[in-house]
Amino acid sequence: MELLVFLIFAFLAVAAALVVVAHKNPVYSTMALVFTLFSVAVLFILLGAPFIGVLQVLIYTGAIVVLFLFVIMLLNIGREDSQIAGHKAQLFFALLGAVSFGSLVILALSSLRPKVLAPLTPELVSLKALASTLFNEFLLPFEIIGLLLTVAVIGATVAARRPTAEESAATAAERSIETKEARP
Amino acid sequence: MTQPLALPEDDHDGLFADSEEMELSFGPQHPATHGVLRLKLKINGERIVESYPVIGYLHRGTEKLFELHPFFQNIPHTDRMDYVAAATNNQAYVGAVEKLLGLVVPPRARCIRIILAELQRISSHLLWLATHAIDIGAMTPFFYTFREREILLDLFEDYCGARLTLNCMRPGGLPYDLPVGWTGRCAALMADLPGKLDEYEELLTNNRIWKKRTVGIGVLPPEVAIDYGVTGPMLRGSGVRWDLRKALPYDGYDEVEFEVPIGRNGDTYDRYIVRMIEMRQSVRIINQCLEKLPEGPIMAKRPRVMKAGKDAEIYHGIEGPKGEIGFYIVGDGTPNPYRCHVRPPSFINLQSLPELCKGALIADLVALIGTTDIVLGEVDR
């Protein structure tokens, strides 16, 4: 039963991930990303980490990808646009990604010591255990991440702020100069 | 003036082709356009950059039809212009013909005309309130106002047999006298109506969401309103005290007491308040008329065949529910008018719409279409 669920969602995750990369329409890619993330969340739950699984759905599937979709729809990145980027650039970045991913895999495999992990117990996967680990052992990283997010939020607010009347007048003036210069 | 916008050649693929702006064809099949108005919009997100009303979807050539029929046969054509305010259309048209032919309307007929016209004003405003509220999302006032409008239309039906296209006035007077018991039923409705108006206002006037959607939306400064030739509650909402019933009294409006409400800010909320007060004032007028209703004939002495003199021309405008409804008639010595031009309030008020909705959101647009109170039958004729 577990194996069956695993197989279904593992297959779904990989297949959807392939669609994300391969599909020409960015909207379909984004929708496939939703399936990937959802399937991975199911795999998390199968691995005995329901909290992370649910958070994965709540944050990534439910919020972040929606924003992706929102932006794609607003900008209406059509099929043509995805082909504008040169194949050489694509190839370069694909190779770069492959190399870095491969080295990560090698690193992970080489550092993996053949040791038997303790079987999952209700205490180990419980929220309380997770919380106490997070707030005792990893308190500093946790706080730093919180700070980072706050900085990001403030940055976003500043970036999205509507310009004041004077500022927008100034930019308008600049623009008019630019267009005048641009015209012979 | 706004230039006509070109529609994008391909509506399917390039929704935002080449610019941040999108073309949106709002209507003619749209629930909020009150008929077959079409607006070509250029929008940026939901903000309207430019709008251009496209009219003519209900054009029936009414003005040409006027030339093909004798004066008294043209009254049904006027019914079908502003089809929710037929009585005032009739009144404007027969008033023009009477001026042209020099007919004097007897006092009883004039008094009944005022009653009919004010009933029509109330019914038109009730319809406006219903659709305006439904556009802004409040559906319940619609059913409340239609409940009262139903009784009002019953009164019309009792008088002339029709509920919408009344055909209830004739050059020189009225076709029928009031039926027995009519004044009593009318008085009962008038006694009832102020309470009902309070009921509508309870749902809307102090509602925070209603105020958020109307206060400061579509401000029409008085100078701009006058420049566009806007009339009626639209003009008075901008704070201009101009009402033809007071300024150029006709049909004995100088013999009744009433007040002309004006707005302060010229926004959608002010126009709403102005119309609500106008309904109460209409009730007041009708009550006075019912009280003093004189006895006597309802039709003036008139020639068997009505002919206008050669090159006789006349313009006569009255205060309809939506603004100044006027008829310009030229005679050529035959029983038919040589030319008849209508000054339709809806058409002229509609011209201010692009001005009103500059920079507004799509949600505001429906409120603004509602507040201009247009009837496409009159815009297109």
């Binding site: 958070l55 | 999302g137 059913f143 409340y144």
Partner: protein
């Protein structure tokens, strides 16, 4: 056969059976309720009090032509209504519908899933609801639909935040994501709507926005966007959106009742001592509470005008979220101080 499996299947059957009844009943309530408020009879020809009208509607939806626009993005267009039903029906798995019951000497909680993550699972699944709206709007290839789905995605994300924060404030004093624990907490103390009135307020407003109900029905605002994201849908696919809306209203009402209104319990009543009667009574109590909430949804819809898009955003970000955050901080402090 395994008793656990039987019990789980039975629980799923009960919950699903209840949820499937929501839409027809609500259609009737909405019509007759609005008619009552608007001084008119409403549909009264089919069956007693027009009760069979919903049945007639279902038949109509089944037999109407299912139109797919030529320019639509077909796969997404066809998938969207199905996706709309998914969160609506799955979220209710974590709701406790009554007191624990014993079967074959073993005690079971009256929830389909008693997962550790409880209410988080609800929020996670509910957050998937936005995809169907966005897909429907995009795939229809209609400008009004697109505007509707853009509104929907912005609105749902904004109000999800406020709602999540309001829910978290309930969780803190309870110390558990289990909704059964939330109900138990309210039985020993008092209902959370009295303990956290501001959280309750935020939750209620957010619930209206999350279910696209007036005054927040902007994604489908019929006077502005024709019908918003489902403009192009007809027949059963349209009915699927309809059903999803009512079902998610019911699910959110059940969550709201469980979090703030004591769940399936009434004060001073000992359900445990009554055996199966207690279970039935608990279920009945929760259903009655949900019914009241649903009626409030209907009542508000026929009373208020609609907000504007920017006003909605302002309300969400500048009023609801700060209030929810302040409420969270206050509740945390009070929990630390031991007052809650």
């Amino acid at each position: 056969m395994n008793v656990d499996v039987v019990v789980t299947v039975a629980k799923i059957a009960v919950v699903l059976g209840l949820l499937l009844q929501v839409a027809p009943i609500m259609v009737w309530v909405e019509r007759r309720g609005s008619a009552m408020m608007q001084d008119r009879p409403g549909p009264n020809r089919l069956g007693p009090f027009g009760l069979f009208q919903a049945l007639a509607d279902a038949v109509k939806f089944l037999f109407k032509e299912d139109v797919t626009p030529a320019a639509a993005d077909k796969p997404l267009y066809l998938m969207a209504p199905a996706l709309a039903l998914l969160p609506a029906f799955t979220t209710s798995v974590v709701i406790p519908w009554g007191p624990n019951f014993t079967w074959d000497g073993k005690e079971y909680a009256f929830t389909v899933s008693n997962a550790d993550t409880g209410v988080l699972l609800f929020l996670a699944l509910a957050s998937l609801g936005v995809y169907s709206l966005v897909m429907a709007g995009y795939a229809s290839n209609n400008k009004f639909s697109l505007l509707g789905s853009i509104r929907a995605s912005a609105q749902l994300i904004s109000y999800e935040l406020a709602m999540t924060v309001a829910v978290l404030a309930v969780i803190i004093p309870v110390g558990s994501f289990h909704l059964t624990d939330v109900v138990a907490y309210q039985r020993t103390n008092t209902w959370n709507c009295l303990l956290q009135p501001f959280g309750f307020l935020v939750f209620c407003i957010a619930a209206f926005a999350e279910t696209n109900r007036l005054p927040f029905d902007l994604p489908e605002a019929e006077s502005e966007l024709v019908a918003g994201f489902h403009t192009e849908y007809s027949a059963m696919r349209f009915a699927a959106f309809f059903q999803a809306e009512y079902t998610s209203m019911a699910a959110l009402s059940a969550l709201g009742c469980t979090l703030f209104l004591g769940g399936w319990s009434l004060p001073w009543l000992n359900y445990e001592g009554m055996g199966w009667l207690g279970v039935a009574l608990g279920l009945g109590t929760l259903l009655a509470k949900v019914g009241v909430c649903m009626f409030v949804f209907v009542w508000v819809r026929w009373t208020f005008p609609r907000f504007r898009y920017d006003q909605l955003m302002r309300l969400g970000w500048k009023f609801l979220l700060p209030v929810a955050l302040l409420n969270l901080i206050a509740v945390s402090a009070m929990t630390l101080a031991g007052w809650l």
